[in-house]
Every structure is written in structure tokens, then in C-alpha cells.
Symmetry: C2
Subunit: 677 residues, 2 copies
């Protein structure tokens, strides 16, 4: 679209009068010169709007959709299947599926048993709790869970956080019984909190733990966990109870005399074995069973060696006698009063969120790979109930584990039944095999843990984040260094704070793009991006890229007026600026302050004899603008268009050819607002 400008000499004394000059518009490009009205959206009552908004906020997945138009008995079945996903797959379960699940179940059991014992130690709990926690929760998940790949049990990060937060309150060595009570009660609250998030459909809270945060956080946790293992790997007896890097390293080097060479030798050999196995599986993913089996093999070999050489005589500490039998009930141990309740609830809340995040992320990953759906809110309820029941049967916080779920998937799991196989295997172990672990050296547990958490340090992912988004990289570093130098929970909180600050900054400083016409078309795009885009003389076309609200109206007002002033300077010797066109399609919402922005802009621009033109505001925005008090002043149908092209075409035809702006000397108006004496 081109404008044939007509230069006109204007008598300076008549400068203020409106000298309207017809400007010819080249018709080649614009075929649809007939104008399309911006209409008000269809009427919706206040209640309708509210219920729509409520639905989009809390029920975006529309869970009742599948019930629509179904007969009653079908609805009952669907309802039962909704609450017990096992009913969806159990009716079609076959021997063939069971074979797959049996193999994968046994595979993850071989990993879950040594890992369970190790993670319980990480949480400062008796090792047997790791096995208890691998028995009951998987059974519950079989019935309630909607993921087909998740392998449920204790995980490293939740164990670390639980252990470290509670150890600040009660010493696990001085008061082991009280510590156990705290851990079980925290587990109960974690479950309660998870189930509540699911029921209240507030699952989006875990979205605030972004990928960048998780990568930094997991890396930091891995460092902390690995450093904690130095106690076991070096055979140190007197070790700090603190978690962060500085005291741990100090403790390691101050107790050099306690290092035991036999322990170190054993640690190095088995670490080499485990990391070697991991390396093989990484190189060739089909050999996943190598790394899956390595921990159990290590436990067996090291136990035999330890038994043969009578390890305790050589300064190698062993697990010792473990009680035989299934989970004892612990409902009576839950503590719902007393001075520790605050810490218990806080610990439950944080471990609950962390384990949810891990479990749901894992569930979603595999659901995406196998193309089925995992309902976040339903998973939260499942995990919540699993943990609440767990807390009454000697289990501490459990969730779907990253590593074991991957093994489960790769070993061919087809349904949640593999968790049942895992559970039965653990049961057999608990009933009959416990005496075998008596001579298992503690050092091997440390080695298994180090090999497990080393994969949490994801350097390639960190590099990708650096490449993609520098701010996310800062968020990641905040989480990483926060965790290793301050504490797990504070590091996490800091990183979330930094991420939310960025969102607020984006709202407070929204983008405004200056649009120009791409020659030969009716397309208008950012002139700083598309270099061929050219400005239309007499027009300033801006696209606002954010909702307009209290947090940004002052900025937008300043920024738009700066564009206008720049423009006035540029076009000094040319056609003067007559229209400021705001392209509003990206303005997704507006509040009362936002409405006042248009009022203010309109009045400032009127003084400069510039018209404010709005293009394509969305339904909600139109509605609010129309409801404003002096709406007709700043939202006139003459200056409201559906596309930039139509605005330019239509307004060009009545363009005034004046070469400079001359605001009139204003009389001082009397103010009636703020008249507050």
C-alpha cells in the first residue's frame, strides 16, 4: 500500500484549522477496502463469565466431559474407573501382559531393595524402612495410579530433604524413636497435602518448579548426597550432622585419621563396578539390565566378601541384624500436637511437593512416549492416599522414581502390575531374606547411592539452558548454589522467587513493537525484525504485547509517549504524526487501571492533535472499555478497526496535511476530583 502524498502550503495563521486534503490511495494491494466492524462480544451474564473462568482455571481438562450423554450404568462404570484406574486395564489383562510385567517387576525389585536400604539411611531412618516403603505404597499405586510405567518407592531427593529438615529439629541418633515419629507424621502430612492439591485442583502449584529449577536443584542435591556418602565411603566415624558443602568437607579433612584403607579399597572397587555398569547401559540402552542388576550384584558379592573376611574386624562397618517380618502398623506413632508440629508440617509440605513433582514429571514423560494420558490431579490424589496409608504402616515418603521407572519401562512393563510384582518380591525378602543382609557393608550402600545420584547432575541439559535462555540459567544456578551452600528448602525457595520475579518483570515492562507495512502486502509487522517493513507516514503503529494492568500502565504510558515524541522529531519536515494506532490483539486482559491508561493517553494525545486508534481488541477488553465512564471519549467506532490495514486505508483518506503539531495554549482547568478538604 502506498500513499501518494500531496504537499500543501498552509497559511501559518490557519494552522489550527483542519485543512483536510484528500490523499489518494493506491488500490492495487488492498482489495477488501470495505470495512469490517469490531463488534461487541455476545452477551454473557456476570455469573456465566465467572463460571467459565472458574472452569478454565480449575477444570481445564473438563473431567466430566466423558460422562456427557452416557446412560446411567455406563456413568457408574466410568465413575468407578475414574477413581480406580485399575478398572480400566484389569478387565483386559492377559497372561502375555503379565509376562512382561513379571520380568520388569523383578528387574526393578533387584534395584529397589538395595536402593531402598540406602535411601532410608540417607533419611536418617533405620534401613528396614526403605524396604517397608517398597512394599505397601506400590500395592496402593496399582489400584489408584494412572501411569503404566511408574515404579513407586522411596527416592533420593525426598529422603535427603526429609532427613535434613527433621535432623535440624531432633537428633536421629540421640532420639531415634522420636525422629521416626516425626518422619512418619511428616509423611502423613505430605500425603494429606498431595491429596488436597489433587482434590482442590491446585496441581498447577508444582508447575512453578520449572525445568531449570529442577536441573539446578537435582544437581545440587546430588552433590549434597554424594558428599554425605563420604562418611561411609571413607569409613569416618565422627561426622558432621550438617548438610551443606563447607561443614561436610571440613569434617572429612579434620577426621583424616579415621579414614580406613580397607573401606576405601572396597568403596573404590564397587564404585568402579557400578559406574562401569552405568557407562555400558548409557552407551547401549538395550543393555539397561547391566546397570539395573549391578547394585544387587554388588550387594551380594560385598556381603559374601564381608562375611568371609569377618569385615568388622577390619574396620569395615556392616548393616547388622535387620528385623524379619512385614510392616508393623504405626498409626499410633503419628504426632498431631506438641512443639514439633510446625517443623513436621513444613517438612511434609516440602517433601510432598518435591515428591509430587518428581512423580508427575516421570509419569508425564513416559505417558508422552507411549501416548496415553496421565491426569495430574488424579495422580496427586493417588500419591496422597499412598503416603497417608504408608505413614500408618511404617513407610516414609514415596513417589515414582526417575531411575527405577526408566528401568521399568525399558524392561518392558505394560501396566502398573509390575509394581505388584515389585511389592511381592519385597514381601518375600522381608519375610525370609533379611538375615542375609546382616553382613552387608555400609560402604556398599554409599557406593550405590553415589552411582545413583551422579546421573542427577545433567551437564548437557545445563548447557542447553545456557544456550537457550540466560535468565533460566541464572535461575538454575540459584537453585544449585542455594542448595549446596544454604539449604535444600531455601535454595528451592530462592529459585522459585527468581523465576516469579521474571514473570512479574515481563508484566511490568511489556514489549511494545513498532509495526510497519511489508511492501506489496496488507501485512504489518515489527520494523525492527522485518527490515523491509516500512513506516506509514502520519501513523505510529504499535503492538502491545501483554495484558494491561496496574503494574504496567505507567510504563506503557511513558513508553508510548516516548515513541510519539521520537516520531514527532523524525517526521519534522514531513507529514506530521496524526494517528497513534494501537494493535491490541495481544492484550489478553485489562483491569480498571488499564482502562484509565486509554483515558490518559487519549487526553494527552488530544492536546497534541493526534488521534488514538484501537485495532482488534479481544472480547474481554472491548467489554471493559465500553463499560468505562467516559467510554465514548476514547473508544469511538470511528477509531476502532478490525485490522491495521483497514485502519490505515480508512484513515489515510481523511488525512490532514499539516507539517507540525501546534498544541493550543491551554486554559487551566478547575479540578473537581480529589477535592478532599
Amino acid at each position: 500500500m502506498h500513499l501518494d502524498l500531496v504537499e500543501v502550503k498552509v497559511d501559518p495563521e490557519k494552522m489550527d484549522e483542519e485543512t483536510t486534503v484528500e490523499v489518494k490511495v493506491d488500490d492495487e494491494a488492498s482489495t477488501d477496502s470495505k470495512r469490517h466492524q469490531v463488534v461487541s462480544p455476545p452477551y454473557k451474564s456476570c455469573l456465566q463469565q465467572f463460571s467459565t473462568k472458574l472452569k478454565e482455571t480449575f477444570f481445564p481438562d473438563d473431567p466430566l466431559r466423558q460422562f456427557k450423554g452416557q446412560p446411567l450404568n455406563r456413568r457408574v462404570i466410568l465413575g468407578a474407573q475414574y477413581f480406580f484406574p485399575v478398572l480400566q486395564w484389569a478387565p483386559n489383562y492377559s497372561i502375555k501382559l503379565f509376562k512382561s510385567d513379571l520380568i520388569s517387576g523383578l528387574t526393578i525389585a533387584s534395584l529397589a531393595i538395595p536402593q531402598g536400604i540406602s535411601y532410608a539411611k540417607l533419611a536418617n531412618l533405620p534401613p528396614i524402612l526403605g524396604l517397608y516403603s517398597s512394599f505397601v505404597p506400590p500395592l496402593i499405586y496399582v489400584i489408584l495410579g494412572s501411569s503404566m510405567d511408574l515404579a513407586v518407592g522411596p527416592v533420593s531427593i525426598a529422603s535427603l530433604v526429609l532427613g535434613s529438615m527433621l535432623a535440624e529439629e531432633v537428633s536421629p541418633t540421640a532420639q531415634p524413636d522420636l525422629f521416626l515419629q516425626l518422619a512418619l507424621t511428616s509423611t502423613f502430612f505430605a500425603g494429606l497435602f498431595q491429596a488436597a492439591l489433587g482434590v482442590l485442583r491446585l496441581g498447577f502449584i508444582i508447575d512453578f518448579l520449572s525445568k531449570a529449577i529442577l536441573i539446578g536443584f537435582m544437581g545440587g542435591s546430588a552433590v549434597i548426597v554424594a558428599l554425605q556418602q563420604l562418611k561411609g565411603l571413607l569409613g569416618i566415624v565422627h561426622f558432621t550432622k550438617k548438610m551443606s558443602v563447607v561443614p561436610v568437607l571440613t569434617s572429612v579433612f579434620e577426621n583424616k585419621d579415621e579414614w580406613s584403607w580397607q573401606t576405601v579399597l572396597m568403596a573404590v572397587s564397587f564404585l568402579a563396578l557400578l559406574l562401569g555398569a552405568r557407562h555400558i547401559s548409557l552407551k547401549n540402552p538395550k543393555l539397561f539390565w547391566v546397570s539395573a542388576g549391578a547394585p544387587l550384584v554388588s550387594v551380594v558379592i560385598s556381603t559374601i566378601v564381608s562375611f568371609a573376611i569377618k569385615a568388622p574386624h577390619h574396620g569395615i562397618s556392616i548393616i547388622g541384624k535387620l528385623p524379619k517380618g512385614v510392616n508393623p502398623p504405626t498409626a499410633h506413632k503419628l504426632l498431631f500436637h506438641g512443639s514439633h508440629l510446625g517443623v513436621i508440617i513444613k517438612t511434609g509440605l516440602i517433601t510432598g511437593i518435591l515428591s509430587l513433582t518428581e512423580g508427575i514429571a516421570v509419569g508425564r514423560t513416559f505417558a508422552a512416549i507411549r501416548n496415553y494420558k496421565v491426569d495430574g490431579n488424579k495422580e496427586m490424589m493417588a500419591m496422597g492416599i499412598m503416603n497417608m496409608v504408608g505413614s500408618t504402616t511404617s513407610c516414609y515418603v514415596t513417589t515414582g522414581s526417575f531411575s527405577r521407572s526408566a528401568i521399568n519401562h525399558n524392561a518392558g512393563a505394560r501396566t502398573a502390575m509390575s509394581n505388584a510384582v515389585l511389592s511381592v518380591t519385597v514381601l518375600v525378602t522381608l519375610l525370609f531374606l533379611m538375615p542375609l543382609f546382616e553382613y552387608t557393608p555400609n560402604v556398599i550402600l554409599g557406593a550405590i547411592m553415589v552411582a545413583a545420584v551422579i546421573g542427577l547432575i545433567d551437564i548437557p541439559a545445563a548447557y542447553l539452558i545456557w544456550k537457550l535462555d540466560k535468565y533460566d540459567f541464572v535461575v538454575m544456578l540459584t537453585a544449585f548454589f542455594g542448595v549446596i551452600f544454604i539449604s535444600v528448602q531455601l535454595g528451592l525457595a530462592l529459585a522459585v522467587g527468581v523465576s516469579v520475579f521474571r514473570i512479574l518483570l515481563q508484566i511490568t515492562r511489556p514489549k511494545t513493537l513498532m509495526l510497519g507495512n511489508i511492501p506489496g502486502t496488507n501485512i504489518y509487522r515489527n520494523i525492527h525484525h522485518y527490515e523491509e517493513a516500512t513506516r506509514v507516514p502520519g501513523f505510529l503503529i504499535l503492538s502491545i504485547e501483554a495484558p494491561i494492568n496496574f503494574a504496567n500502565i505507567n510504563y506503557l504510558n511513558d513508553r508510548i509517549l516516548r515513541w510519539v515524541e521520537d516520531e514527532e522529531a523524525t517526521f519534522k519536515d514531513n507529514l506530521r504524526l496524526q494517528y497513534v494506532v494501537l494493535e491490541m490483539s495481544a492484550v489478553s486482559a485489562i483491569d480498571t487501571s488499564g482502562v484509565s491508561l486509554f483515558k490518559d493517553l487519549k487526553s494527552t494525545l488530544t492536546v497534541k492533535s493526534i488521534e488514538l486508534v484501537l485495532v482488534d481488541p479481544i472480547a474481554d477488553v472491548i467489554e471493559k472499555l465500553q463499560k468505562a465512564k467516559d467510554a465514548k471519549e476514547f473508544i469511538q467506532s470511528d477509531y476502532l478497526f478490525l485490522t491495521v490495514e483497514e485502519a490505515v486505508t480508512s484513515l489515510s483518506s481523511t488525512m490532514k496535511s499539516i507539517t507540525s503539531n501546534m498544541p493550543k495554549e491551554e486554559a487551566q482547568p478547575v479540578v473537581t476530583e480529589y477535592f478532599v478538604v
Copy 2:
């Protein structure tokens, strides 16, 4: 644009093969059928991007712009004018301007003197401090301030907050000297904080106090202030020290026996006089001087009456002797250590923000009316210095007052010189007229305060907010009830929390609009808004109305897939869904999580044999998408268009005519990620 659909029978066994059918496109509407490439934005180094972002965030007003291309001596002058705005207007100051300023200065002085005394009492400070605070700060503002209309001095809300926050720490009656020290030090910190916000260009922090919050907050404060006056108006001696509604009303009715009819009579008469005067000025804004003069007239009359009848003998309390002379220096009274420092800093911070908000809002309002500019950051520095200096000269927190600035403007003030006139008038009063106030009854101060704050309750504004935006109304109510039932600072914090929650909710639950073609044009708009807009068969066109980031990728993924499923159901017997077109022009930013959304969407859609098409992503978004690891998988130039029209036109021509989607039975892939044993 119309598609002439060609129905084709497809052999069910060949369903999976790509049966490509040419679909004729009606050429009438689309003239520019040649396609325009989405290009990468011009290259900018990481440092350039960072500095641009920094500038847009902290220097959106580009303060150095005016210095560009100026000779050195001009730059020096501009620099001096920047820091001392008085230099901008003083050189052209004339007798004529002074006449206007003199009249307005005397008018506001007549109001500032009685109000100053009242506000100091509200802050639990000696009345004389109100006068001190109306002498020094206005003088400083003349030199540093950039508003021509602001009348500087103590204001009701900051006085209330200062008084109530500090009274929780130290009793103003038991330890008046310590209380004064706390107040002065808080004033110093308020100033320091204000100046720091200006220097660090963090002024946008006050934007978070939205209009809705301010209306609710001011209304609540007015109720609190008015209730506090019941002590003076009823002549009660024993009164609660608490601020919130319940204890105050309890205290009023429990001490009924202390009510003094003489005091009540006086209160009622003068309240009637003041409110009557206010009513006259509201009806006829030209008679603004009626309400401006009423407080001074009331003080004069009541003092004469009180002197004549020897008021104290009739149970009417009087101000008593006030010290004569100018502000004593108080730098030595500032407390920078000790146990009260925490409360002092907190009080300084909150009163600092509140008084900034009032001062800047007032400054902006009048600047907009008279069409000059007030620089927010400069104003913050001016007010900060004013309060810091004030704290060393017996002044407590001051700012530009809503009410007195309106009077100042209406009385014809032309420059900040009217503040100098105010200051000199107060000086004269301090030096010579103090004895005249000895017999002024306290009840009159209460009446002046009630008349002053009643205007802060803005029912029409509250109604307008209700009409415009229900959520803002909730925010307003939160502030109002929070202030009157909990406390001033907590009510404010709650309301800010509720507003920020809304912003986060908008980001977490972004709008997605389904677009349709407006017949006969190449325009695509929301089909739920423009009823004539029709869907294009085979296409699902969605516009995403928010930045895509960690907080909303899960929601967007679910929501888009729900649209797709709905669409698949709708088009069952028709042309099947083949393209999901995402209109991205409103996506103003994207982070690493956002990039993964496209990856996930792409892989889910591929299983359904649907192509993902992106339209008009903005520069930043293109850059980030291109940097992603498997970028070429989900951002192919074949499926990247500049406009929806071009995407539809271009893709329609190769549309496959298949009537239903048949995803292939997928093989279970082996997972290499999360391989963490």
C-alpha cells in the same frame, strides 16, 4: 476464502498412505497469494540483548536522550536542570506568575496550619511537629521537585501508619521522647528508601499499589482515622490505643460516662460548618476557597469561643501552650542501633512507599491536566532528600497531599513557588502566632480531620470498579476490610498479594482463542466473539495470548490437546483435522520450558498424523526456538508462516482428504533419558 472440498473415497487398507488431493482455492479474496517468509531477526550479540533489556527495564524514559548531540556547556546546564528542576522555571519567573503563586500559597497555608497540627496528633506526635513539617520540606521541594502543583506537608495516611506502627513498639504517652526519636528515625529511613528507589530506578515498585488497592485502602484508613477522632469529638479521656474497629467502638461505648455534652455540641456545630463548606465547594468547584478557608475560620472562631468561655472549665480540652520558634535540629536524635531498629526500618519502608504513592499519583494527575511531565524517579529522589533533611530538622514524614494540591491548583498556582509562600507563612506563624493557638480546643482538630478524611471514601469510584472488573473489586474490599479489621500494613500487604495472584493466574491459565475466517476477507478472528467467523475444515487455528513459560506449559499442552480432541470429534464425518495452526503474535516471550512445549506438542500431534504450524512468532521467540536442540523437528520452514491466511492458503493446496485419524500401533521405544542408576 472458500475451499471447494473434494470428497474422495479412500480404501480403508490404504488409510495410512498419504492420499494427496488437490483442493481448489477460490482466488477472489486472496490477492497476495505469494508467500512471505518468516525471517530470523537481525543478529544481536548476547551483550547487546542484555543491555537493551536493561535499558527497557530501568531506563524506559531514556533520561540521557536530551543530552545527545548537545555542546558541552548546554550539557552542563541541562545536567544542572535535571538535578535542580527549579533552574528550569526560575529564569523565566515573573511578577505575574508570583502573584498567582502568592495567592495559592496563602490559601494552602490557611489549610496547612490547622491540618498540620491535627495530623501530628494523629501520628501521636506533639502538634507543633505538624507545623515544623510544613516549613522545611516545602522549601526543599521548591528546589528539587518537578511538579508545579504539589503542595507538600504531612498527610493523613502516612501520619496514621507511622503513629500506629510505632505505638505498637513504644507508648507515645509513657515514653514521648523515645517515641519522637523513633518517628524521626523512621522518617529518615523513609527518605533513604525513597531516594534509593529513585537512584536505583526501581520506582515501578509503587505501581503495585493499584488504583483499586488505593481506593480500598484510603477508604479503610478514613474509617480508622474518623473513629480515632471519636476520642476528641466526644471528649473521652480513657481511650484504647488500638486502631482497628472493634476495640475502638468498644472503648467508645464502655466510656459513655466520660462523654462531655459541651464538647459534643462544639463538635457537631463545627462538623456541620466544615461539611457544609465542603458541600458548597463540591457543588460549585469555583467556590473551592470556601472549603479551603473553613478549617482556619473554624479554628479562629472556636479559639475565640473557647477563650471567652474558659473552655477547660467546661470539660473542653485545649491544645495548650505551644513552643515559639523555628524547627530545632534533631540529627542527634536519630537512632541507628538498639532493639527498635527493626520496627523503625519497617515503619520507614511502609510510610515511605505510601507517601511516595500519594505524592507521585498527585503529581502525575496534575501534570496530565496541565500537560507537563513529572519524572517519577526524580520525584522519588526529591521526596527522599526532603524527608532525610526533614528528619534532622524536627519534621516527620511528608509528601504531596491530595487535598491541598487540589486547592493549590484551583487557587491558580503556576510553579512550585507557592510552596515557598506556604513555607514562609508557616515560618511567620511559628515565630509570632503560636500563643494564639493555646486556647484552640482539641475537638476542633478532630472535626477538621473527619472533614478531611471523609473525602477519601470514594463510593462512586468503588461502584465504577464493581462495574468494570469484579476481581479488582475483590482486591479493593480486601484492602478496605484488611485495614479496618486487621491493620493498615497487613491490609495493604494482603491486597497486593491478591493482585499479584491474579497476574500469576493470568500467566498460569493463558487464554487460547479459536480463530475462524471472516467470510469474504483474509481476516481470522475469535469464533466465539465474531459469530460470522467460520472454521476452516481440516484446520484448527488457535491464538495463544500469553508468554509461554514454566508456569503454563502443562496447561497449554492439555488445553491444546483438548481442542484437538474436540475438533476430531466434530469433524468425524467430514474432512479430518490435519493442521493445528498456532497464531503466536501474542506470545511475547518464551523460556526453556516453553521450547519444550513445542517439542511435546509436535510429537503428540505426529502420532495423530497432524502437522503443527506456527504463524508469526515474534523475534525473541523465533530465536529461542531456533536455538533448541531438535529445532528442525518442530520449526520447519514449511510449517512457519507470516499470516494465518498464508498458512491456510498454502497448506490447503496440499491437503490430504482422509476422513479419520488412525494412529499406528506404536512400538515401545527405549528411553535413554533419566537413565540414572
